[in-house]
């Protein structure tokens, strides 16, 4: 059934007018979404939307590494952590530094990219499962250091984390308060929503352009067959390093935004499970397919919240008590989803067309 829908979608896509109408519709929905959600479900849900957008950013970044270049990275959240801590250290009372955002965002991206290259350099020769384990180890090392670098010199403030991080400030426009723009009341979460949305759209644009670029095709070539790619004259070492660095950049920027949005960072937010969650988004949505990954990220970021609000009451009604708390239910479902998707729909929920063709022809 999904394939039939996809077919119709592809036929629609060939129609120029339908495409523009579609874009306009999507833009309109995205623009009014926070207001609808706010009045319909409450302000917490706008916050959840904001987080979903951050996850989209992360998933897009990881998609470059895993989906395009085929390098399984299980420590991706480390870059998120690096970005978040870069922002937190340079824009909080912790060191009494308060740099503006236009310095911080490129800086977060840069620092994360440096870490990406640091991780990439020793692991370039590895493939598949080895790479997965090493990246996982790297993620854990970063977390352990964040957790323990509070003595003898207090750099990260250890397990307590850093709080009172400066909120986003664009010129005179502070994101911490409700602002009135063109007669519209915009609460803080709405402002963040539009900022994140803008960045997500920019990232989607970058990813789509990357995909068809020389570099993007080189990544896909490496993913499909590294030896053949090398024979075709691709400098696999540099191209893979670039994949790591670019993926890390996305993670770093998302981390910085997270720090300013949350106002608080601690090592706890950057555990292995977060890495796996972002990986789930990419795998579930469809590795290598930008739209699929966005779908996966939104689904996996919002579903747990839906579960949180519905699972307990339903269990209460059925069994008279809460047997599974939402948190463990979420993880159970994640585990199950990873297995089932790989067994039943190995290309994800919304696969890329070339991938789909490969998989169908193989059967």
């Amino acid at each position: 059934m999904i394939y039939a829908l996809l077919e119709r979608y592809h036929r629609l896509r060939d129609n120029r007018h339908a495409v523009w109408v579609g874009y306009a519709l999507v833009a309109f929905v995205l623009a009014i979404l926070p207001f609808v959600v706010d009045s319909g479900l409450g302000r917490t849900w706008v916050r959840i939307l904001d987080f979903a957008l951050l996850y989209v950013l992360l998933a897009l970044g990881l998609n470059i590494v895993v989906g395009f270049a085929g390098l399984l990275d299980l420590g991706y959240i480390a870059f998120y952590a690096v970005g978040a801590y870069t922002w937190a250290l340079l824009a909080s009372p912790h060191f009494d530094l308060h740099l503006p955002f236009w310095v911080l965002i490129p800086l977060c991206a840069l620092v994360a990219a440096i870490f990406g290259v640091l991780l990439g350099t020793p692991t370039l020769r590895l493939r598949g499962d080895y790479l997965a384990i090493v990246t996982l180890g790297f993620g854990e090392i970063i977390r352990i250091f964040l957790n323990n670098l509070n003595a003898p010199v207090n750099i990260t403030n250890g397990p307590q984390g850093i709080n009172r991080i400066d909120p986003m400030q664009l010129g005179d426009l502070s994101f911490a308060r409700t602002q009135t723009l063109f007669g519209l009341e915009l609460p803080s979460v709405h402002l963040y929503y539009y900022l994140f949305l803008a960045l997500v759209l920019l990232s989607i644009f970058i990813c789509i352009r990357l995909q068809d670029s020389r570099l993007g095709r080189a990544w896909v070539a490496i993913r499909e067959d590294e030896v053949a790619a090398q024979a075709m004259g691709i400098n696999t070492r540099n191209v893979k390093l670039l994949a790591f660095a670019m993926g890390a950049t996305f993670g770093g920027v998302a981390g910085g935004l997270f720090a300013s949005f949350q106002g608080f960072v601690s090592p706890e937010s950057f555990g292995l499970l977060e890495s796996i969650m972002v990986l789930c988004m990419v795998v579930l949505g469809g590795m290598g397919h930008v739209a699929g990954v966005v779908l996966g990220a939104i689904l996996l970021a919002t579903l747990p919240e839906v579960l949180r609000h519905t699972a307990s009451p339903i269990q209460q009604q059925l069994f008279g008590k809460v047997i599974l708390d939402p948190e463990s239910l979420r993880m159970l479902l994640f585990g199950l989803a990873l297995i089932l998707v790989m067994l039943l729909r190995p290309a994800g929920l919304w696969p890329e067309t070339t991938r789909r063709r490969e998989l169908v022809s193989r059967e």
């Binding site: 020793p122 020769r125 493939r127 499962d129 180890g137 790297f138 352990i144 003898p152 993880m331 990873l338």
Partner: protein, 309 residues
């Protein structure tokens, strides 16, 4: 000097547990060429099952002797883990044997999360105390102390490892396993039932994982649903250090990693002038892993190259 000797003893005890788990990784890798990510969770399930059996037997009030209870618990844990290892292979690996290499890895991660959360549902979030069934009486050798339990760990793991080596080198099953790891297709043509051999490999590895789980939880007197993960990673590191796919290598790697960790954690404070403390113990395994993969991807004893193009 006695502190140094103490660290060596602790390292050997820890290392022999790593070695038992590492053997499971290395056997599966040798035959299928993939990392069994869920192996650490098998260790955890082993520890948890044994714990349940121990508690049940102790609370019956029959006054069974401690070592007997431990034996029964170990037996139960091994049986459960063998069944678990068998089903892990069936669910996560067999259907994907011809799929791209990322696929089985991802199902294995999924399985690992699933097992952890199921264990959490059954045994709860809190740390479980393991009853003391073996005397923790300590002996002093050259100023270092070693408990009865630690001696038991060393002996058990040595016996099991020797048993495994004998199995692999002197039995029909072992010969079939070696043939399969050499070349599955040709082994199949020679009349080896590949699927049975792969299942057997998982079952044997899981039985050893169960033993390791029981030993390590008894040693620390504690069991937890998340204990398998880190242990699994370190054991994998040990397998890579020794040379993946090589049984002797896994044993050597396990012991070495145990020594590196305990000596490293004992002296890192002095070496760095107090800048880094013993809470960085978990970092050592990863640093070792990265160094080995960069400088000697075949591991210490391996002929097989860790990267596969």
């Amino acid at each position: 000097m006695d502190i140094f000797l103490q660290q060596i003893l602790n390292g050997l005890v820890l290392g022999s547990v790593y070695a038992l788990v590492a053997l499971g990784y290395t056997m599966v890798y040798g035959i299928l060429g993939l990392i069994n990510f869920a192996h650490g969770e098998v260790v955890m399930i082993g520890a948890m099952v044994a714990l349940t059996v121990m508690n049940a037997l102790v609370s019956t009030g029959l006054g069974l002797p401690g070592p007997l209870v431990l034996m029964l618990a170990l037996l139960a844990a091994m049986l459960v883990c063998m069944a678990l290892g068998f089903s892990v292979e069936r669910v996560a690996y067999r259907p994907l044997r011809k799929a791209p290499r990322l696929a089985p890895l991802i199902t294995a991660i999924g399985l690992s999360i699933l097992l952890q959360n199921i264990a959490m549902l059954i045994w709860g979030r809190q740390y479980q105390t393991v009853p003391r069934l073996i005397s923790h009486e300590s002996h002093t050798i050259f100023g270092a102390t070693i408990t009865d339990l630690q001696i038991l760990i060393l002996i058990t793991s040595t016996v099991i490892m020797c048993g495994l080596l004998a199995l692999v080198h002197y039995t029909r099953l072992g010969r079939a396993m070696r043939a399969t790891s050499e070349n599955p297709t040709v082994a199949g043509l020679m009349g080896v039932n590949i699927n049975r051999i792969i299942s057997a490999t998982f079952v044997i590895g899981s039985a050893m994982a169960a033993v390791a789980g029981v030993l390590v939880s008894a040693n620390y007197s504690i069991a937890h649903y998340s204990m398998g993960f880190m242990l699994g990673l370190k054991a994998f590191t040990a397998a890579v250090l020794g040379g993946i796919g090589n049984l002797g290598g896994a044993m050597l790697g396990g012991l070495l990693l145990g020594l590196i960790e305990s000596i490293g954690a004992g002296y890192i404070g002095d070496v760095t002038g107090g800048f880094l403390g013993s809470h960085y113990q978990d970092v050592f395994a990863f640093v070792v892993l990265i160094l080995v993969l960069v400088f000697r991807p075949t591991g210490l004893l391996g002929e097989r190259v860790a990267e596969r193009a």
